[in-house]
Symmetry: C2
Subunit: 481 residues, 2 copies
C-alpha cells in the first residue's frame, strides 16, 4: 500500500480511511503509543498498538530511531495534543535501532554534542525545525528575485583571480605535494597544474556578477563562498552561502530599498510557511535563555523580534552620524567599550554595531558612506566633505544579535577613478582587465550587496552558533562528513 506523508495526515479530516505511514519512532510509551515522524513536518503522528494482540518480540523492536511502517484506519484521537491517530493493524520494522547504541535518546542533548553527530542531528526536533526554516528562506530568496525579473547567475567557485581582497583564500590544485613540477628557476610550475595557473576558491561572486548585470540588468548569485581564516567564533565559517544581487542603473538609495524589501520578504515568508517551526524555536530559545543572567537575556522573544523587524523601517544614517552618536554614548563616555571611539576614520567593532542597533535605535540600521580607507576598491567615491574627508557609497545593514547581515555599495563606474583607486590600494589592474572592460564599454551606475545567508538563518531561527544552521559546518580543523 502506498504510504501517506504525516504532514498530510495531520491535516486530514476523513476519519476511518485506511492509511500506511512510514517513518522513525520518536517515542514509544506504555507499550501502546508510538510517536512517528517521517520528516515531512515537525509534528509526529500517534500510532496506537494493541499490545495484547502483538507479538512481544515485535513490541521490543519499537525503539527510538527505528524505521517502521504501520497500516490501519485513521481515527479521531481521544488523547490530548493530537486530533488524529492511527489504529495499528499491521506493523513492520523496516530498520532496527539498538537502544544501547543509538546516540539520540528521547531526552535533551547539548548542541555541542549534536554537532559531533551532525549526521544524525537532523532527527532532532531542533534541527528538523532549523533546516526546514533554512529551506523556506532559500526558496523565498529565489521567489523574490524570480518575481522581479532577476536572472540567477552561477558565478564560478574556482577562480583564477585572487584580487578581490575580501579575505584569505583556499588553494585549489591537482599538483602532488611530493613531486611539485618546477620551472628552470626553481619556482612551482603552475603550467602543470589543472588550470595552467594558480587557482583558489572564490570569496565572492560580485565581480563576475557585475559583468552579467552590465548586460542582463538585474542578476543575483546564491552560492557557496570561502574564507581560509583561522576564526573560531560563533559567527564565522570557512564555507558559507552568500546571496549577491547586482543591479544596473541602481544608485545607493535603490540598493538600500531593495535590500530592506528582500529581508522583510524572506522573514515574512518564513513566518508564513514555517509557523510551527518558528514557534518551536521561539520556545527553545526562551528555555536556553533561562540559564543566562537576566542582563543577557533577549528583551523580545523570537517571534516578537521578527515582527519588530518587519514593522519598522530600517534606520538609515551615515557612518559620520553614527560616529557622533557613538562618541556621545554612555558606554564610550564611561569607557565600557573595549575599543573606544576616538574619532572619525576607524572601523566599527561588533560592540559598536550592537550598541547602535540594540540600544540606541532598537531596530535594524543601515549605515552608509564609510571612510574610503576601510572599504573595498570597487565602491564609488563620494566628493570629499567640507573637511576634506573621503567616503565611499557603501552600505552595511546591521541586525540585532547578528551585527552585519548585509554589506553592499554603489560601484565605482568611472573608469579613471576606479583605476586610480586600484593603484592606491595595490590591486593589480592587469589581472582585472575583464572587470575594467565593463567600465570601458558602456559603463553605467550600478549597485549591489551581499547577504550572509547563514547569518540570516541564525536571525530567523534564533540559534546562537552559526555551526548549528548549516548542515555540515567547515571551520578550522573541522571538515567531518
Amino acid at each position: 500500500m502506498k504510504h501517506t506523508r504525516i504532514k498530510d495526515l495531520l491535516n486530514a479530516t476523513e476519519y476511518g480511511q485506511q492509511v500506511t505511514v512510514k517513518g522513525w519512532v520518536k517515542t514509544f510509551r506504555n507499550n501502546q503509543f508510538i510517536a512517528i515522524n517521517d520528516g515531512s513536518t515537525l509534528g509526529n503522528i500517534q500510532a496506537v498498538v494493541d499490545f495484547n494482540s502483538t507479538d512481544e518480540a515485535l513490541l521490543k523492536r519499537i525503539t527510538t530511531g527505528a524505521a517502521i511502517a504501520v497500516t490501519g484506519p485513521l481515527v479521531e484521537s481521544l488523547g490530548k495534543g493530537q486530533r488524529v491517530e492511527i489504529k495499528v493493524e499491521t506493523l513492520e520494522i523496516l530498520g532496527d535501532s539498538d537502544p544501547e547504541k543509538f546516540p539520540l535518546q528521547p531526552k535533551k542533548h547539548s548542541l555541542e554534542f549534536l554537532r559531533e553527530i551532525a549526521h544524525l542531528r537532523f532527527r532532532t526536533n531542533t534541527f528538523n525545525a532549523v533546516f526546514r526554516v533554512r529551506n523556506a528562506l532559500s526558496f523565498a530568496i529565489h521567489q523574490f528575485f524570480f518575481d522581479r525579473g532577476f536572472v540567477y547567475m552561477h558565478t564560478p567557485i574556482i577562480t583564477g583571480s585572487d584580487a578581490e581582497g575580501a579575505g584569505e583564500m583556499f588553494k585549489v590544485t591537482t599538483l602532488d605535494f611530493d613531486h611539485t613540477p618546477r620551472t628552470p628557476d626553481g619556482k612551482i610550475d603552475y603550467k602543470e597544474d589543472f588550470f595552467g595557473k594558480p587557482t583558489n576558491l572564490t570569496v565572492s561572486g560580485q565581480l563576475e556578477g557585475e559583468l552579467a548585470a552590465m548586460a542582463l540588468g538585474n542578476i543575483y548569485t546564491f552560492g557557496p563562498t570561502f574564507r581560509a581564516e583561522n576564526s573560531n567564533t560563533t559567527r564565522h565559517l570557512a564555507e558559507f552561502w552568500m546571496v549577491e544581487p547586482e543591479m544596473a542603473f541602481y544608485e545607493l538609495e535603490d540598493n538600500m530599498d531593495l535590500a530592506e524589501e528582500l529581508l522583510k520578504y524572506v522573514i515574512r515568508f518564513a513566518l508564513d510557511h514555517c509557523p510551527d517551526e518558528i514557534e518551536f524555536l521561539k520556545n527553545r530559545l526562551s528555555e536556553e535563555e533561562k540559564n543566562k543572567p537576566q542582563a543577557e537575556r533577549s528583551e523580545m522573544d523570537l517571534i516578537t523580534k521578527l515582527h519588530f523587524c518587519l514593522d519598522n523601517r530600517f534606520e538609515r544614517l551615515t557612518y559620520t552620524e553614527a560616529i557622533e552618536i557613538l562618541q556621545r554614548s554612555k558606554p564610550n563616555q564611561k569607557k565600557q567599550f573595549k575599543y573606544l571611539i576616538e574619532g572619525w576614520g576607524s572601523d566599527l567593532q561588533s560592540e559598536h554595531e550592537r550598541y547602535l542597533v540594540e540600544r540606541h535605535f532598537k531596530k535594524p540600521v543601515i549605515l552608509t558612506d564609510y571612510p574610503a580607507d576601510i572599504k573595498a576598491f570597487y565602491m564609488r567615491l563620494n566628493e570629499p566633505d567640507e573637511q576634506g574627508r573621503l567616503t565611499v557609497r557603501a552600505m552595511d545593514i546591521l541586525f540585532p544579535g547578528i551585527g552585519e547581515l548585509v554589506g553592499g555599495s554603489q560601484r565605482e563606474e568611472r573608469y579613471d577613478r576606479l583605476v586610480q583607486r586600484m593603484q592606491e590600494m595595490s590591486v593589480p589592474t592587469e589581472e582585472l582587465e575583464w572587470y575594467l572592460d565593463t567600465r570601458r564599454f558602456g559603463t553605467a551606475p550600478h549597485s549591489g550587496f551581499g547577504v550572509g545567508f547563514e547569518r540570516l538563518v541564525l536571525f530567523v531561527t534564533g540559534m546562537t552558533n552559526i555551526r548549528d544552521v548549516i548542515p555540515f559546518p567547515r571551520t578550522p580543523n573541522n571538515a567531518e562528513f
Copy 2:
C-alpha cells in the same frame, strides 16, 4: 525620473506616457533609430531621435555598446517589428563605447570567439537567451521541490572524504608548496593544513544528502560539483551544477516517476516562461545546422523536440533488454559502432545510448538494473538472475543529443550487504562510518538521482557545447575571469 524596464514598456498600452529607459545601444540606424536593450528581456525598444535638433557630437556617441538614458513619450510605432517606440526628447550618454575597440559589433560572432570574451558575451542575443532559460530552469527546480515539501540541503563543497569514487578530485589546501610541513617520517603533515587533514572539492552531495533524507524524508541538493578529469569535450566541465534529490521510502519505480515528472515540469516551465528566448534559440539552431551535412541535422526543431519529450512517456527497460536490442541492431551487425556490443556486462558508450534514444525508441529512455560491476557501491543489489548475473537497482535517463542526463538508483539499505559491497570494491568503511550509521539506526529503503544541470540547459537551449551554457566555464587549462 525613475526609469522603466523595457520588458514592461513592450507590453504597455498607455500611449503618450512620459518614460525614461536606461540600457545599452544594440544598433543605431539612419542617425535616427536606436535599438536599446536593458537586459530585462530579449527584446529591444526602439527610440527615435530627431537628428535635426540633436547635437552632432552627441549623435556620434550613440554607438553599439554605449549605455544611454532616453526620455520621451511612449508612442505607437509605425515601423514594422514593434508595437511601441519612444520619441526621444532628452538623451544622455551614461557610458561611451568606442566602436574601434568594443569587440561586439552588430554582426554574427562565432561561439568560439565569444567564449574568449565570456565577460561580454552576456550582451549578445544568444547568451541573453541562454542565461534567461538557465534562470527559468533553476527556478523551476526549486519550485518543483518546494511545492512537494522537499527540503533544500546545502551539502558541503569542501569534503574530507575521498571515498565517493565518482571521479578525480581537486585538492583544497592552505599549505605552502615551498614550505610543506612534514611529519618525522617525511610525509606531508596534514595536521598543519587548514582542516587538519587532506580535503577535496566534492564530486557529489549524495552521501550527505542520504543522511538528511533519513530524517527529513525528502530532500534535494542543487549546488556545484567538481571533477579533476582531463576531458576536453563538448559535454564535460571541471565545475558544474548538480541537482540531487534523495527520498526516504522510495523504491526504484518511485524514483523513476519522480525524475520523469521533474524533467517534464522544468521543460514545460521553460517553454511557458521563456517563449521568446526558446523561439530565438530554435532559429539559431536551425541556422547553425544549415552548415551541416543533411545526415547530421536534427530531425526535429528545438521546440518540436521539447514538446516531444513532454508528450511521450519515457521508455523504461532494463540494461539486459537494451543489450539484446543493441546486439541485434544494424550498426552492431554491420560493425558501424566503434565499440561493438559483444555481450552482457560491458558499459554502454555514448553511441549506444544515442542509438537507443534517437534511432530505436525515438524518445527519452530510462535504463535500469545495470551489472553490479560497472556501478557504484551504494546501489541496491538485486537477487541474481537465472544465469547468476548480478545487477543493481540503478537507473540512467538518456536524452536525445545529450546521452546520460540523469543517473540514480535505489540505495543499498541493508547494512551487511552494503559493507560487503564496500569491501569488494575497496571502499574504506572506516572513512564512511557516518554513512553506515544510517544503516545501523533505523535504516529504510530509499532512492535518489542526480541531474547534470548544464546538460539539462544544453537540451532545452539547443546549444551544442556545454561551455556555452554556464557563465564562466572551468575546463583543463581554463579558469579565466
